[in-house]
Symmetry: D3
Subunit: 340 residues, 6 copies
């Protein structure tokens, strides 16, 4: 993950539950700042994500701690985790990081939700690749996190420059329906797209805007010839969405006219169940573009528990006091994550 300094709003605690600020105020007035151990876990199987961003935040938060006092151990983005497994352990003075509990858990909850959903689609589609197209369902401040999480979950690409950059990739995309509508004809739009863009942008043309998909796919293939990388089927729900038989027919009609190299990308309401049906019934899909299944995944709730205070095992009711044996945890190089 690309390193980024946490925003002012996060560092100020403005985005934290207010009771953490109040707790700090009380401890300050009471002159308390114990050395504590906090452990973080979730309650379901998941693809861990957001923890690397949390490490950056912790690295900044603990920057002033005396040498050796603050110790962080953690798993990494992309690790498969199991219920109740400890994924992060912070050993430091409470007031240095208590205020960031909300932010840390939030980063992990939402990103882990997205990565876990992404992986479900990736497993369903394998060996065909999946691309994340969900940016339009989340706030623009987090599209980068969404796309990064989708790639951690196994997607081979994502549609936003910010998200792709975070994952060290180039963004993936075709063309919007708007472009086709403005040109008034799919072939003319495709020709302009082909004429005007850099050669390394794959020519993938949307073929459901004006005419029947099979007819349009052939028109576009004839117009662009070898330069056509692929077509995208995105039939709207009003027309019954993309069906398994549509993919088979378009493939057959393209092949019959010699366009065996044109790839078929599909999108529109794809879920692991629908992808599995496409695969099981032999639909010749080259790539799946998945949106709301990933971007609409519910966050996966993480919990942070104090387990030691000044060396004594402790826990609230319902939890087991003391440090949990966690052989997979690895020490975190805070200076490294801070970018020192």
């Amino acid at each position: 993950m690309e390193r980024r300094r946490p925003s002012h709003e996060i560092l100020s605690g403005d985005s934290a539950d207010v009771y953490f600020a109040r707790a700090n105020q009380v401890l300050d007035r009471e002159g308390l700042d114990p050395l504590v151990t906090m452990e973080v876990f979730t309650r379901q199987d998941a693809v861990l994500c957001g923890i690397d961003e949390a490490k950056i935040l912790l690295a900044h938060a603990l920057a002033e701690a005396p040498a050796g006092e603050a110790v962080v151990e953690a798993l990494d983005d992309g690790d498969l985790i199991v219920p109740k497994e400890i994924v992060l352990r912070i050993h430091a003075r409470y007031r240095r990081f208590g205020l960031y509990e909300t932010a840390i858990l939030g980063m992990m909850a939402q990103s882990t939700g997205w990565a876990t959903a992404a992986r479900a689609t990736v497993e369903a589609a394998a060996p065909a690749p999946v691309v994340s197209f969900g940016a339009r369902h989340v706030h623009p401040e987090v599209t980068d996190s969404l796309d990064y999480a989708a790639i951690v979950g196994g997607c081979v690409g994502a549609s936003t420059p910010a998200g792709a950059r975070l994952a060290g990739l180039r963004p993936t995309g075709t063309m919007p329906h708007s472009l086709v509508l403005i040109f008034g004809d799919t072939v003319r739009a495709a020709e302009a797209f082909d004429r005007d863009l850099e050669p390394d942008v794959p020519r993938i043309v949307l073929v459901d805007t004006f005419k029947d998909e099979a007819e349009e796919a052939l028109r576009v293939a004839h117009a662009l010839g070898d330069r056509l990388y692929g077509i995208r089927l995105d039939t709207p729900s009003e027309r019954g969405r993309v069906t398994i038989d549509l993919v088979k027919e378009v493939r057959a009609r393209l092949d019959m006219e010699g366009f065996t190299g044109v790839r078929i990308i599909i999108s529109g309401g794809l879920t692991p169940e629908r992808i599995t049906r496409f695969k099981e019934q032999g639909a010749p899909v080259d790539s799946y573009a998945v949106g709301s299944y990933i971007s609409g995944a519910s966050p996966i709730d993480f919990t942070g528990d104090l387990k030691e205070i000044d060396g004594r095992p402790i826990a609230k009711r319902g939890r087991i006091p003391g440090v949990t044996p966690s052989p997979r945890l690895r020490p975190v190089d805070l200076a490294g994550w801070r970018g020192d």
Copy 2:
């Protein structure tokens, strides 16, 4: 909604689907920039939210348009909307705003999802109030949007300063379990809280950290006397969560010792269904703190369609060409939203 300038990342298109940037590049090279009308709608009943933030973005995007050329009509945050109703109509040159389609739809999708879920809990709990406690499930960059949406959906408060500020309220909260654990005793933590915080912070004490909730509630009530505003029950799932009978018993035991004014706030896995059961069975809850039901709500997908190009009705397959009659739309004062 408090006015905020859109971030650089949003304005640069970095968080947009890359195909919008490519579409702009093509149109630029082809010398095209038609005057278009785009309409935005969703497919379900919802509490609209995020549209005011979208107006700010559009106000900045269209700032350079000649007088009278760009016209925006919209509904407002908090409006109840129905399937296929037009909630936003943009009439402008395409290249001035096409790049922001991803951002606009994303703001609306996530905020409308949150506001609609919030409203479901508010309706279940009425006349008891609901407070949003979901910050820990979303990325810290959007906790403010989450809390604002929850309040638009009818919550009376939210837990983050940033979110509360956006809604023009003060943040709401009690104390973290960590504070109680550090003091080693609920009563000592409550006394310090009471001693150290400003008088206008309501004294609400968590009573499930160390001892049985009923026992602890009485200990705290005796310790703080009239200064105790309320207690919060947040029994962990490991102990069966807060039950209806627990609330009744705690209320009865407080009343028997004269603490009839102490309020009971409950939290932990609350949903409209669970809240309804509490209400129907007469549990004397004074306030509900709801987290993941609101913060984990899936985005509600919005769609933007071009319906006119240079005055001609048009639409992609599956949609009906031309402007949709929408008597509820109101003109948007772009200069006002820009803060000019």
Copy 3:
């Protein structure tokens, strides 16, 4: 119902369960031929059909009976009947009609099944009309009975000349996909159809053979102008079948270009449930063409019981001896049904 002489095969008993022939043989050798009363009923609510055809068969079977000996009472095609209601009572010498029990029950079972299913679609579609298109699912020897039963159940038309004639109507239809394929273009096929057929055949054109339905509908409307009576949408299941939104969009696009008088007929997998959804959601369908829901309806089983023998009440185990009070039964004019 048009009068028809029963076929030789039926009158010979060749299509009867063999045990009736054997029973007749036994009775003959034993010199027995009592005067019996048989009653026929079913066990569910239904639209009675096939009974008029049964009257014709009985009229021929009992033609030789002495005056006054044979008495038949019955309900009529189209009557709504209830469980265990007597729909036919035959009072005659057993050997004159016993052999025809299989044929009588079979006529009634299959036709009543079809008529009852037809009525379910008619009630769902009302006030829009339903046409029976199920001939391709049943043996050609019974397509006339199928279409007649569908009309008894409330359909306004049927697709076979034989069936329509039986019901005193003209057959209803559009054109096969084969015709469009042979012309290679929908518009050319439509023009030939318009040029070559009698003026009183309504010009209804299939618009899903080659191109998108909305596009093709407009092409055809422009080509035929006022002479176009309607278009038929029969989108194949491979393309998601006809959807509610497709009908709305085609209607809107036709209206926008002034073709408000062109009717929309839909077909393909229609059931009462699907028709109800189209109606409830306001799809502007002018007529429904229903096939397999009607033609694939299971027969409704009828039972014939001897209830009196030579004036004595009798019944097999499980039935109540003697004639059942049945005020709705009407005397059957056997000579009339025979066509004397």
Copy 4:
């Protein structure tokens, strides 16, 4: 299958969908009659039936075609087929056979439905045999087709002479309740049956008309002695139908009195599920007589598609153009099926 000339009504097109007649009229006036290839398939696993009857119809329809011009390939009655498998391919001038599409598909749809249902009961009952008793639920014009299809599906016999003859068998049956009622006593009816019928008709006696089945079975066994082939249990639904324990008890009581050779045939509402339960729980049934499960089976829809016209691959939207590889198809000897 016994050869039969198609009826005048079928050959005239009277039972066809009217739009085929109209298509022929248009093609005639336009002077068109291309050489086409039509393929027929269904969408589910099935026991193919009715196709031999379709071959006879095609043999007559194509009788005038020049040598070598008309080629038909097909599977046969009784073949197990899979979804989308081509079961019939016709290569001929369209106007010679287009009119018969309705009839061909109808023959196959209804007969394949019956044969497939029959096979499900046969598989459930094996090794005990199944006999088709469904004639009373279908129109007498198709009882022969029903019984023939049941035998193609694996039944060892059927109850109508016409159906049995089509399958080259003798009809199967017992006696009607009417016969027993007329004699007023099961034993007297059985004795007359035994006295009056040819020796090669198996003596199978219905034993549920007047008395308890077990009591009656013993009375009949004592009366007919070795000449009794079997008894049939057909307990009416009003008395709880035939149960597994009833069969066991009747078997035991017959055996206790030495009638170990008397077979037990059961009937009444039998389905594969009920037959399976009888078999799994060890009911000593010698033969199952199945009616409405077979005769009430819904037709299995077949589709005919033009795939080549004058040598060019073609298909309507939703289908793949050109001839489908179908190695199992066998050439049809049209002259042979015509009986030349």
Copy 5:
């Protein structure tokens, strides 16, 4: 309820949970015997039963208490109670009655379960009466309690002398299948039954032992004439149990031969659901004999809670301290229940 002294085993505590004996031993050694208030309730709607028997036990247990010290308030057998309603309150020194908690709760749990189930059948059958025939499913030591509870629940009779006596009624019954089997013929058994028993025993004859029920009913009616009070249908499950149509047919056949006064009693696996179906479909049943639905009802759990000790409100966790307002409770005359 007839008064009975509790058995030695109950009074000795031998049938009590051993921890009550141990508790008494501890209190004795510690010299403790506080004045306590115990309240008893259940968690569901029910017909209260067994409480009168509990009053007798308490009356004996508290016989030695000083005047005025021991006060018992309670509801009565047959009262309809609601969840959490107090049905019994005991105010006495703990050691006088603590040992009997198991016995008191047990009496109430099992009898209330039976009475509540009985009432469900009685309500389903009304206005036809229900008789309890469940003695054969419970231990003979409690058949009297079962039958008494059934009558409290609304049954008009019960089959055991002990149970009937407890309820102040005469026992109800017909004859066992064994009697019919020993006579070898239903009519001969019926005649002996009629000849040998006192005239006030109603002649109710089982008619399903040897022959078909309808046949046997007529034979018995002819044999006993006016002396026949009724027949009982108890068709075994091996023959499909008693069906609605069987009752209708037997009634019709009896009436046709003039036996309109013979009553029909049915039995065999009756539940409220089955009884409701018989009633709704008009089966002419005169009386229902219900066995396992009543006798197999699960006990309804009662709980006893200490709510005051030496005048101080108290309760265990989960309960609300202090006496519950219970206006329906009535003082219990202990001397009266003791039979002093």
Copy 6:
């Protein structure tokens, strides 16, 4: 099983269905007393119980029979039986035992129901033991039978002295909530319990009366030290019942303070399903105390059929005449069971 003389009420027939008494009266007057064979079976898989008690009753009933005339064969308490298996065969003069059919079947029905339910919990819990705590749900006259049946079903102990004695064991128990409430503190109650009871009573202390279970468990462990045998968790439903995590936490907290030898017993609404979940998820339960699942089990219905009368095979309709082959039956030593 401990031998007990049947009660007077049972031997007098007072608890029998009255029709058996009437049958005896008829047979007596008619001078009939045939030698019969009765067989008893049930219709489901079960753990047989109550049959030893039935042998005692038969031993007394048949005490006066001439040598060799009365023969009883049976299976034994604890045998696993299958549907329709003969578990008891009585060969004797009918009038010697016919009156006891109700009692015999009742003993077996209720005890077999309890034993079968007990075994389901025992199998779920294995290798952890189960104790029967259901006495409070059944009438005190049958608590001994209940506890005996539970032990036959595999429980290692039961809570009543009478039941335990019947099974040759000592009763099992802890202390009632009442004792803790009277002492006002769990530790004080535990100390008195420890001080006052014989050393061989295991010290098992209830820890959910006043405080949180984990806190109380530690307090009790510190107070009693090595003398503490175990703690019992019986969290009320108002507090969410005992959860899997509660057991794990209490175990962990006990172990952390060195109390590794203290056993954990749980109770409260346990069923095989809940026990299985505790076991599968690794809850460290040492013993399960099961109440209403065992005590509330419905009786398992047994049927007694006469199969021979004076040497002739016979049976009522629905059953097969004659003696059933039953190789597992063993001869019963009547004198031994009578205790001669």
